[in-house]
Amino acid sequence: MLNNTPKEISERSALVVNPAKTCQPIGAMYAALGIHGCLPHSHGSQGCCSFHRMHLTRHFREPIVASTSSFTEGACVFGGKTNLKKGLETVFEIYNPEIVAVNTTCLSETIGDDLSEIISSTNIPKGKTVIYANTPSYVGSHITGFSNMTKAMVTHLASKDENGGNNKLAIIPGFVEPSDMAEIKRILKLIGIPFIMFPDTSGVLNSPNTGKYVMYPKGGVTVEELKDLGNCFGTIALGKFASEAAAYELEKKCEVEAHVLKVPIGIKATDDFIMELLQMTVKEVPKELEEERGQLVDLMVDIHNHYHGKKVAIFGDPDIVTSMTEFAVSLGMIPKYVLTGTPGSAFEKDVTDILKSAGIEDFRVKAAGDLMELHQWIKNDKVDLLIGNTYGKYISRAENIPLVRMGFPILDRVGHSYFPVVGYKGAMRIIEKISTALLDKYDRECPEEDFELVM
C-alpha cells in the first residue's frame, strides 16, 4: 500500500509523511499510569484524551482510564481554569484516585493556562495529591512528554529528610514496556539492591485477569516512594531522551547523584548497566546473572551465521533505537539506516559514534525523520531486515522485508507486555525474533532444492 512512495527523494521542509513519533501528552499519560492509584488527567479537548486512551489501549490491550477537562469554545476564550477546577473535583468525587497527574495539551499551552495557580486554588481532598507537567504537543515528541511527566514526579514530590538516606537506588527505566520494567527490577533484586523505580507500569498495564475490573491495579510506584526519592543514594537513568531530565532534577533538588546510561538492550548496554550497579553498591555479580550472560553468549555463537553481515534498518524511539543499534553491531549486523521521529542531535551523534567505532561507513542516521523518508532510502538501497514499531509493516509489505516488532506502538501483535527486550534474557529474545524472521522468509521463498530441515 505504500507502493506509491516515490523512489526519488525530494527535499521536504514543511511536510511530514507517515510520522515516526507522536505528541507529548500520550507519553505523559503513560508515565502517569506508572504511579500507583493514579488517574491521568488531560487538560485540553476531549479528543486528545480519547485518542491517547485509544492508542494505549491498542498497544497494551488493557483498559486505559484517564479524565479530561473537556474544553469548549468558552474555555478557549476565558481560559481553562473553571474546567480544570471542576474537573479535579469531579475526578476525586467519582474515581477516588490517590493522585491525579495533569498533563497539558497544545490547546491549554497556547491559551496560557497557569496550572500551578489553578491547582493551588483548587480544593484537593485531604491526603490526596495532584501533580502536573507542561506537555505542549508542538515541542518534541511522546518521549519528551514521558520525560516531562517523570521529571514532574520529582519536582512536585521528591524531598530530602534531615536524618539521612534510605539506602535505596532511584531507577528510571524510560519509555519501555511493563515487562522491561519488571525485568530491570528482577536484576536489581538478584544483585540485592533496594530501589525505587519510577515510573513503574509493571503490574498496572500487564495485570492478570481475575474476572474483575480494577481501576487502580496493584502495580506502580507509590506517592510515598516518590516523596522518598530525595533520600536515595544515587539515580540510574536509563536513556538520555526519556529519563535524563528527571535524574538531573533529582540531583539539583536533593543532591542525589545522577548516572545516565543507555537502556539495557543488548549485551553491551546490559553489561554497562550491571557494572554501574556493582560499582555504585560495591556488590558482587550474582551467579544467576553470570549464567544468563553465558547463555546469551552461547546463543549468539550458536547461530551467528544467521544474522552476520545482514543489513538492517532500525527506527522508533531514540533511547531504544540507540541501544538496539549497538546490539545489532554486536551481532555483526550492519545498521544501514537508523531513524527516529523525535528531534534531538544527541541521537545522531550517539548512533554515529557507535557505527563509526564499528568501522561502518555506509549508513544514514536521522533524528526528526519520518517513515516516508526511511522508505525512500530503502527503495534506493535495500536492507535485509527492519526493526521498529507496527508502522513498519507498510514498508515491510511493500518491499518484502521481514519486520521485527520493537518499540511503541505495537498494534498488531502480542507479547511485548509480558516478555522483555532488556537484560540478557531480553537480548536472547531479540536474537530469537531476528533469527526467526530471517529464516521464516528464507523457508518460504527459497528454491525447492535449497529448502532444508536443519538450519
Partner: protein
Amino acid sequence: MKSLEAYPLEERKSHILVKEKDQNQGISCGRHSVSGVVSQRACVYCGARVVLNPITDAVHIVHGPIGCSSYTWDIRGSLSSGSEMFRNSFSTDLEEKDIIFGGEKKLSEAIDEIVRAKFPKAVFVYSTCVVGVIGDDIEAVCRAAERKYGIRVIPVKSTGFAGSKKDGYKAACDAIISLMDGGKYERGVKDPRSFNYLGDFNLAGEIWVVNNYFKEIGLNMITGVTGDSTVEKLRKARNASFNIVQCAGSSIYLAERMKEKFGIPYEKVSFFGIQDTVSSLIKLAELSGDEEVKKKTEKLIRIMVAEVEPVLEKYRKKCRGKRVAIYVGGGFKAVSLIKQFSELGMKTVMVGTQTGRKQEYETIRELVEEGTVILDDTNPSELEKFMKEKGADLLVGGVKERPLAYKLGMAFIDHNHERKHPLIGFEGAVNFAREVDLTLNSPVWEFVRKGGLHE
C-alpha cells in the same frame, strides 16, 4: 432504582434511563460532557476525519502538531478498490515557532511539497485545536493553492474544541458538498435507478457486499459516501436520482444539504440484520419506481433469506437467551443491533451511545424490554456497573471498551473500526452470528469464571 441512587454524580443522572421506571421522562443527550469525567467521546477533528478519510485518492493533511495525524493514521479499517493514498498520514507537524509566528506559511509549503511529490486529485486540509486558537487563515491558504495548482484544496473546519464529534461530521459533510459543487452535472433526464449510498465507510469491504445486491436488482450506485469513493466519483454524485443513508449520525446532514442544493431526495436505510436488510431493499426498489427492479428485489430477497436462514438457525441454537450490552457511537446503529440480536434470540439489557439523538433514544426505548438500562455518553465505571447488574454475557463496543469487557470475563464484538469481516447485509448477518458465537462460546471464559488456583 437502586443503582441510580448509589451513583454519585448528580449531573450524570439525567443521561441514564431505565425503561418502565422512568416512563414519562426523556433522556438528556447532545450535551457537552462533564469536565473530569472519563468520557468515551472524541472531538470535532475526529468526527471530520473518520467521515472524510475513506476518500481513497485524496491527500488528507492535518494542519497541527503531530499527534492529531499520528493517532488517525490508517485506523479506520476502510478498504479501497483503487488508490491507497488515503492510508498515508500527512501533517504539517507544527512546532513552537509556528505557534508563535503562525502556521500559514508552513501549510502553504506543505501543500506545495505534496503536490510536487504525489500529484493528488484533491487535498483536504484539516484544522486542529491549536490552529483554531492561533487563527491561521486556512481558507485563504487553500484558495491560493487551488489557483496555483488547478486542483481542489478543501479546508475542513475541524477545530477540535469547537463542538463535539457530531460537529466534525458536519464539517466533513460541508467539505464533501464543496467537492460536489461544481462537479460534472449532466443536465437532462436523470436515470431513476441511479443513486448514492451515504454513511457507509466500506469497513471490511461492506459496500462491496451491498453493491452486489444493488447490481443484482438492476440499480446503479454512483458512489458510496465516503466508503471506497474517489474525488471523481464524488463529483458525479449530484447526477443521482436519490440518496440512501446508512449511518444517519454522520451523514443525515449531508443528505439534507444535497436535497437542498441539488434537489436529491433521500431515505434512511439499514443493512444490518436480516429484517432491516429486507425492508431497506424493498424501500430502495420503491424509490427507483421501476417494476422490473421491484421484481428482481423480491427474487433476491427470497433467494438470500432461504440461503442464510438455516445457517442463522444453527447459531440461534447456540446463542439464544444470552444477554447483550451495547455501547456504540450513534443511536441508529444501536437500533439496528437491538433488532439483530433479537433475530438471534438474544436479549438487550443495556444500550448506550456516544452521540445518540433524542428521537433515536425514543426508538430504542420502544424496542427494548422493560428493565433495560439506556445510557448517553457513558464512562467505564457506568458500563461496568450496569453490565454486571444486568448480567450481560456480551458487550458490543469500540476500541476502548474491549479490554474492559475482557477483564470482566465478558465476550466482546467490535462493531466499529476494528471489525474484520463485513457485518452488513445477508452475508454480514451470518458473519455477525458467527462472531457472536465465536466470542460467546469460546472456552476461555471458563478459566475466568473458575477463578485462580486458590478459589
